[in-house]
Amino acid sequence: MMENIDIRLQGEAILPGEAITYVSGESCGGINVFIGTVRNQTKGKAVVRLEFEAYEKMAVREMEKIARQVLEKWPVEKIALHHRVGTLYPGDIAVVIAVAAPHRGASFAACQYAIDTLKETVPIWKKEIFEDGEVWVAAHP
């Protein structure tokens, strides 16, 4: 079931090379990688740090669902989704998604689908900490 899928939810720093190495292979011609990093500002306000928390058991299941959907919908050979939890600072990597496919079009479309869906369905939350306060991202309209 988990063949060709590498899901990680980790407290340690994410290394993009690990996702890239996982999906690489001689039968694929294109690898698309998305790396989400912590920005140093939100709407002009300096971000001090971000705190990520996850409902871990379900987050891993939802990431697995996304990966399986990708393998069903596109001619994709392998996919890796690595997400960080804990305290992150500007420039740190929050998420890496790597998708390998025989042809590049599928790798782009599948990777974009994976990050778009992750942001909608995976139970992970981040709180932005500013000099003068904090806010749970996207919590309020």
């Binding site: 989400g36 990520f52 928390e53 996850a54 409902y55 058991k57 379900m58 987050a59 299941r61 997400h83 929050a94 998420v95 990050i115 992750l118 942001k119 909608e120 369905t121 995976v122 139970p123 992970i124 939350w125 981040k126 709180k127 749970w136 991202v137 996207a138 919590a139 309020h140 309209p141």
Partner: protein, 80 residues
């Protein structure tokens, strides 16, 4: 019926704890749970969305809640 209610993100802050024991009347569904919660914790009403997961799966409004279920409040997610 007493259930164990787990909350994350801003829902945890509003409820005041990661996990609380919470009394709901039977028959209980996601809908009746959310209605009681929004009365007891009016700030939940201001969220962009509030979903419930039962046993690690998103639940529909008419889904029944049983005493042994793992019931988790899912405020708007913001991973990535």
């Amino acid at each position: 019926m007493k259930i164990t209610l787990i909350a994350y993100g801003i829902a945890k802050e509003i409820i005041g704890s990661r996990e609380i024991s919470y009394e709901i009347s039977e028959p209980a569904s996601v809908k009746t749970l959310l209605e009681k919660l929004e009365k007891d914790y009016p700030r939940l009403h201001g969220l962009s969305s509030l979903r419930v997961a039962i046993n690690s799966e998103y639940a529909l409004g008419n889904q029944a809640i049983l005493a042994m279920d793992e019931v988790v409040l899912i405020p708007p997610v913001s991973g990535g």
